[in-house]
């Protein structure tokens, strides 16, 4: 037992150390895209008609004429000290904007992940245990459609039906303006309102969260259905399940303790990869529902060609992704001991 914990600790440490080159790589990549590509932020903002002398002066002030390696190290320094410039659109530091919007995106992605896991693993298991029968085909069709639906369009339909026509749920936003927001602890309205024991606020936050997380969750569940189904089929046809059956273990127990348990390991592994998908989807979902998170920030920044904001968003999304992939890898190592060795 002791050896196993030690190897898990060793794995976590290596993984954390590996995070550094990944981060540097990602930041370098962003730097190359933003600096080496034709065009620069100043000329873009001031346009062709801008006074060349003014543009020149601003460029010198921003250090755009310095050698690239100087710019590169200054950029790394700025990223790690949180100096990502000022948003042209809101005139606030980009880092502040990101901090105030990140919780909304985290709230949305986590609740969507919940919807996707419950729907995807449930339906995938249902289909996998009824292979090649009608329920299997129905579920596979659901999986294919859900995965391929344009998320923006799907969100619009849900919004039109459940918010506009039926009026069951709020049309957009994160919180009703008539209620006062709970004191900020985590920034997640659902958790903050629970901490403040403010039930009406909690109900309001959840109501605003339902449609966006259903949109994103259902789309992602298409992927989970596929992965779960294949792995359940694979596990239930494996030798260890046959061996368990041969030992006379009741089918129920064979299914849950031997089949499903092993089938879910690769599902958890792939869950980590789906976070990238989730964040992509969140950009579109937040736009449909005017959900003031990072995705909506990216959309607004793009619409107004707000380059410091775009750059900041890309960088911090990248850092978030690296941290998430680290957590997923550690979770995987915890679930599947083979990974540690």
């Amino acid at each position: 037992m002791g050896g196993s914990t030690a190897s898990l600790r060793a794995y976590v440490i290596t993984r954390v150390i590996l995070m550094v080159p990944m981060l540097v790589l990602l930041l370098t990549f962003t730097f190359i895209i933003l600096r080496v590509a034709p065009g620069d932020p100043v000329s873009t903002i001031y346009g062709e008609r801008g006074n060349p002398q003014v543009i020149d002066r601003i460029k010198t002030e921003l250090g755009l004429y310095d050698p690239l390696y100087v710019q590169y190290f200054r950029y790394l320094h700025d990223v790690f000290t949180g100096h990502m410039g000022t948003s042209i659109l809101t005139q606030r530091p980009v880092i502040d904007e990101i901090w105030s919007r990140m919780p909304a995106t985290i709230e949305l992605t986590l609740s969507s992940m919940l919807v996707a896991s419950v729907l995807g693993i449930g339906l995938g298991t249902f289909a996998g245990t009824r292979r090649d029968r009608l329920p299997d085909f129905g579920t596979r069709l659901y999986g294919a459609l859900a995965y391929n639906i344009p998320i923006f369009w799907f969100g619009l339909i849900l919004k039109l039906v459940f918010a506009v026509w039926l009026g069951w749920l709020p049309v957009s936003g994160r919180f009703s303006p008539r209620l006062s927001t709970p004191p900020t602890v985590t920034g997640l309205y659902t958790i903050d309102s629970l901490l403040a024991l403010n039930l009406p606020a909690f109900a309001d936050a959840v109501a605003h969260l339902i449609l966006p997380s259903l949109t994103l969750g259902i789309v992602l569940s298409g992927f989970f259905v596929r992965i779960t189904r294949v792995n359940v089929i694979h596990a239930m046809g494996s030798d260890y399940v046959e061996a368990a059956r041969a030992r006379g273990i009741p089918e129920r127990s064979v299914f849950f303790r031997h089949g499903l348990k092993n089938a879910l390991v690769p599902v958890i592994t792939t869950m980590g990869l789906t976070f990238a998908l989730l964040f992509s989807g969140a950009i579109l979902t937040e736009t449909v529902f005017s959900f003031e998170g990072m995705g909506r920030f990216v959309y607004l920044a793009l619409s107004y060609r707000d380059y410091p904001a775009i750059q900041g968003a890309v960088v911090y999304y990248g850092i978030l992704m690296v941290i998430i992939s680290l957590m997923v890898d550690i979770l995987n190592a915890f679930v599947d001991p083979r990974i540690r060795y």
Partner: protein
């Protein structure tokens, strides 16, 4: 015909096609045929757009936001343009973009995967790290970042989408190569002292090529969605070119008043992506020998 292709071991394409024909009467085969038929129909629709479209897609032909009916089968949009005509025209350029983008991804991902999987060691780990970093990054955001910097335009959008999908090709090919490399016939070829290029070209590539059509169709479906996502966010093609995604971005704010102008373009995106996925999944069932073996095993038990 199927036997002829199966026997004709002359070419890679012939061999793949032979396997495909022999297997295509299964359910997976039916899926592939439906998928191919729909994709072809959409391509034909794009090619024949000038003859099929009842109206010019870029001119105001009636009052804005007329509901479906009469001469306007799918109604008119905010600008009084015919929705059906815009849909018929609206996949020409996106289809071209997706073809270009997936080809670029393949052209870069395949050699990198072959190299990385075959060479192994430090080079392999270095390329893997780069590719994994790209892969872990949200695809749409990556495409947004690239498109925002290099600007609109057909080639720019193609390039932005291509970068997103290089790691997918790379990953599958690399893992496949790494496992094929351990097979006795490859080891024998290396032991015989054949030049590396020949070992890869003659012994490894034909054995990993079966995954290419599968990734290609699945990726194409993803690329359609990414292209539409970029268009919806206003980063797609220059205005004036009919595009399903762009039409959604034009009309979505009026969705509750004139749902048809947004609903039909989205529906066509869904039809195209689902058809492409059918092709990919069906091909996977047919061409992937591992899955097939499992199939026969399960069949024998039942």
């Amino acid at each position: 015909m199927a036997d002829w292709f199966a026997r004709g071991r002359t070419s890679l394409v012939g061999r793949l096609f032979g396997t495909f024909l022999r297997q295509s009467r299964s359910i997976a085969g039916v899926l592939v045929w439906i998928g191919i038929a729909v994709v072809l129909a959409i391509i034909v629709m794009a090619l024949l757009a000038p003859f099929l479209a009842p109206f010019d897609p870029n001119t105001k032909v009636a009052d804005p936001e007329l509901p479906p009916g009469g001469p306007f089968v799918m109604g008119t949009d905010r600008g009084g343009q015919d929705v059906l005509s815009r849909i018929i025209w609206g996949n020409r350029v996106p289809l071209a973009i997706i073809a270009v983008a997936t080809t670029i991804s393949l052209a870069l991902g395949l050699p990198l995967g072959l190299l990385s999987g075959f060479a192994g060691g430090r080079l392999d780990r270095a390329i893997l790290l780069v590719m994994d970093s790209i892969y872990a990054f949200p695809g749409l955001l990556l495409a947004i970042a690239i498109a925002a910097v290099i600007g609109r335009g057909i080639l720019n959008v193609s390039f932005a989408i291509a970068v997103v999908y290089i790691p997918t090709y790379f990953r599958v090919i690399r893992n496949h190569v790494a496992s094929v490399k351990e097979e006795p016939f490859v080891e024998a070829a290396i032991a015989l002292g054949l030049p590396r290029r020949r070992v890869i070209g003659r012994y490894i590539l034909p054995n990993v090529a079966q995954s290419i059509p599968v990734i290609f169709s699945v990726n194409a479906a993803d690329a359609v969605l990414t292209e539409a996502g970029l268009a919806v966010l206003g980063l797609g093609l220059p205005p004036g070119i009919p595009d399903w995604g762009f039409d959604i971005s034009l009309n979505w704010q009026r969705f509750d008043a004139s749902w048809w102008a947004t609903f039909f373009p989205g529906l066509f995106i869904l039809i195209l992506t689902t058809a492409l996925t059918f092709v990919g999944e069906g091909l996977n069932d047919i061409l992937n020998p591992l899955l097939r073996r499992r199939e026969t095993k399960v069949g024998a038990e039942a």
